[in-house]
Symmetry: C2
Subunit: 449 residues, 2 copies
């Protein structure tokens, strides 16, 4: 079989890369090969355990691909020969391509040193519909669930399982939940919400072993404490899926990702990579980064798709800005760029400023919630390095406002005189808009610094 | 009495100018003179008729001013002598100042040609607590209310009065509601919502006369039709309050605003102006503009406050980007920059692109609403000229994301590869984020143009 473009992987990056290419070059034949009959919307997975209720409603639609004429092949690629420009499926089918995109994603970490991971009722959050369906049905009769790892996935799954009536404990070795993304005060606010809602949160403690005979009976913590559990869900993190590219000879970086340039080209001729499997460098430092986000994957996939057959010097990937958000009940929080801890540990001399206001105006409206914005700013030149938000659901998009400030290298002076739109029911007040007020706090601190 | 800074006007612009100055130069004495004992939050006014219920809960707090040590004087300034640097109150008190800021705001338009405006039960939406309290109590026994003018204020007041059970008709001479701000399709969506909720919307028709003896009995429309009314509320627009500055000799521009430069300095020595009374120029054309928004006022006030005693070349006002939003029920819409009609009439050669998706993902979540983004882009260089949004309440901040794109002169290529953060409960999906998808539609159109 011949194709102009072969995309390997059907999640966010593969989908967007295929659609971007086909949409811009309809005359090209684009084949997307994926293992899954039906692909999960990655960020929706935690919600199948509660709000959505079933994986059937969390399927990444094929309509967009089909409408454009991208051919979807459900198969597994066993090997790629980048010199011959050919890929081989496990079923022995050969696909000759002009351009190839690795969008092979990531898979959950299961630590080798951890005893007991082979026991019955030990799970991960694998991005696989059948696996998740199995997990969901197996949990249904159980009571006590221990989640190991309080990153976004762990926290969101914990909250959703708790909503379903499970007795949920989340165990995190770092001193706070969501710890790598947020500064203390934001993580603490979300932790409090989780606790209020009934999730037991244990931070600053690791697990030593998963206990049980054939079946999980509990976990042994670092401090010798034993915790009963009917099931253990490992949400420790994800590792890039690079075996296929590596076997084909692609360079892999020190963090384990497929090396790519700013056009998302790998070291192999005519091979690109996008999404969780591909190299990320921090927007502000250029250092290798391990951030895995569907939104980042989509941006990378657009860059790959736009540069496949001819480089576009204006559509390049200038480094990853981690832009995250989450929501527990009606409390949401977000971060764009570097938080204070990360910025300082990277060596930035920073000034920070926070402001807490209300996300509607006046604040007596039924829907009003407190809203906090914290800005992390370079003392040297006033550049916005990062921002954190906490408030109602509007902080999702507010975090993107900060993301655009970072992407455009805005400084604190730019923010001081920035124009924003406000509305009583939709945003904070113009005189008390926390993003601008936080900028004022920073500006004052910079003046006195 | 002597002061370093005299601010005339206590609404958004006056408040923010005074706070900005005092916060940055605590050693300066700042006096804010205003006519009102208690100041209304301007954008909250429509909501006192329904959601908020009373003007008492819509008061711009004095706490921020007091905490900083800004002195509030409730008085009216009768005259300013900019040569002598002195202002005189109507009570005959003299205030000597070093720097003065006109923040005298705006007042509702009452057309002179319109017969019947003197009748009882003809009102405007004056930004005055006592007047509004009177209006609210006088309306309470009545049934049929006709609003004249379907701008933001008219539409929001109509919806709130309708919620309170009044029989509300809104009459607009333009062919659509919110007509100057939005393109047809967005205005139509909001119009439909209003109608669904029970407001009678009449567009493309003007009023000729307000009917009645001493008391309103109805309105006579352009087409000869008569409409019964117990009260008429004129929401035709606002006119800048410039009498004081004009009498003092300040230049007034052709649109009726106090002329200001990019530091918000007027033509009078040491006199600045900010907010509704002060000159606005469009960010993209440099042409005089009549936009009056509390958010614009606050941005201008920050610029004035930061430049009073020494010019900051980096904190200047580079022109007004109209960023509006509103919300009828759970349907919100926003606009940043130029809409298509305005852009074309200004002489831009534009390409537009729209995309409709869902504001959460997957779209089956309880809180999901459709979300549309339309982008208006220069064909010449791909610069984002404007964007319109329609969806749930998150479009308030999403409109600010577009506002930041415009402020940073982002092009369609920048948007194609822009990084955004997404979350199932808070935003559209990363693969179907309407802002980026609309950019793709535009990029394709540009390619084929």
């Amino acid at each position: 079989m011949n194709t102009d473009v072969l995309v390997i992987g059907g999640s966010a990056a593969g989908l967007v890369a295929a659609m971007t290419e086909k949409s811009n070059n309809p005359e090209k034949k684009v084949i997307l090969v994926r293992k899954e009959q039906k692909v999960m919307i990655p960020c929706g997975i935690p919600y199948i355990f509660g709000s959505i209720g079933t994986s059937d409603k969390n399927i990444l639609p094929d309509g967009g691909l089909e409408k454009l004429g991208v051919e979807i092949h459900v198969a597994e690629i066993a090997a790629v020969d980048a010199q011959k420009k050919t890929a081989m499926t496990t079923a022995g089918e050969e696909i000759n391509y002009e351009k190839l995109i690795f969008a092979t994603g990531s898979k959950p970490v299961v630590p080798k040193w951890l005893k007991g991971t082979e026991l019955k009722n030990v799970y991960t959050i694998l991005k696989d519909k059948e696996y998740l369906d199995g997990l969901q049905s197996k949990l249904s009769g159980l009571k006590k669930i221990v989640l190991v790892g309080a990153g976004f996935i762990g926290v969101e799954v914990a909250d959703e399982l708790n909503k379903q009536g499970f007795d949920v404990t989340i165990v995190e070795i770092l001193p706070r939940i969501l710890g790598l993304a947020f500064d203390d005060e934001f993580a603490a606010a979300i932790s409090e919400k989780l606790t209020e809602r009934g999730v037991k949160v244990r931070v600053g403690i690791g697990i030593k072993e998963i206990l049980g005979d054939s079946m999980v009976s509990g976990v042994l913590l670092d401090n010798g404490e034993t915790m009963e559990a009917d099931a253990v869900v490992l949400s420790i993190g994800y590792r890039p899926n690079v075996e296929l590219a590596q076997k084909a000879g692609a360079d892999i970086n020190a963090a384990g990702f497929i090396v790519t340039d700013q056009y998302k080209r790998t070291s192999l001729p005519d091979c690109f990579a996008a999404g969780d499997c591909s190299e990320k460098r921090d927007f502000l430092t250029g250092k290798l980064s391990g951030i895995m986000l569907a939104s980042t994957a989509c941006a990378e996939a657009r860059v790959a798709g736009l540069n496949l057959f001819a480089l576009s010097t204006i559509c390049t990937f200038r480094g990853t800005i981690g832009i995250y958000s989450t929501c527990i009940g009606e409390t949401a929080c977000g971060v764009a760029g570097l938080n204070e801890v990360t910025a300082r540990s990277e060596g930035f001399d920073v000034v920070v400023g926070s402001f807490t206001g209300v996300d509607t105006h006046p604040g007596c409206l039924e829907c009003s919630q407190k809203q906090t914005v914290k800005l992390i700013v370079s003392k040297v030149n006033g550049t916005i390095l990062g921002g954190e938000t906490l408030g109602g659901r509007s902080v999702g998009e507010l975090t993107n406002v900060i993301g655009f400030a970072i992407q455009n290298n805005m400084t604190i002076n730019d923010l001081l005189v920035a124009q924003i739109g406000t509305h009583p029911l939709l945003t904070a007040s113009p005189a008390g808009y926390p993003l601008i007020k936080a900028a004022e706090v920073v500006a004052k601190a910079l003046k006195n610094a």
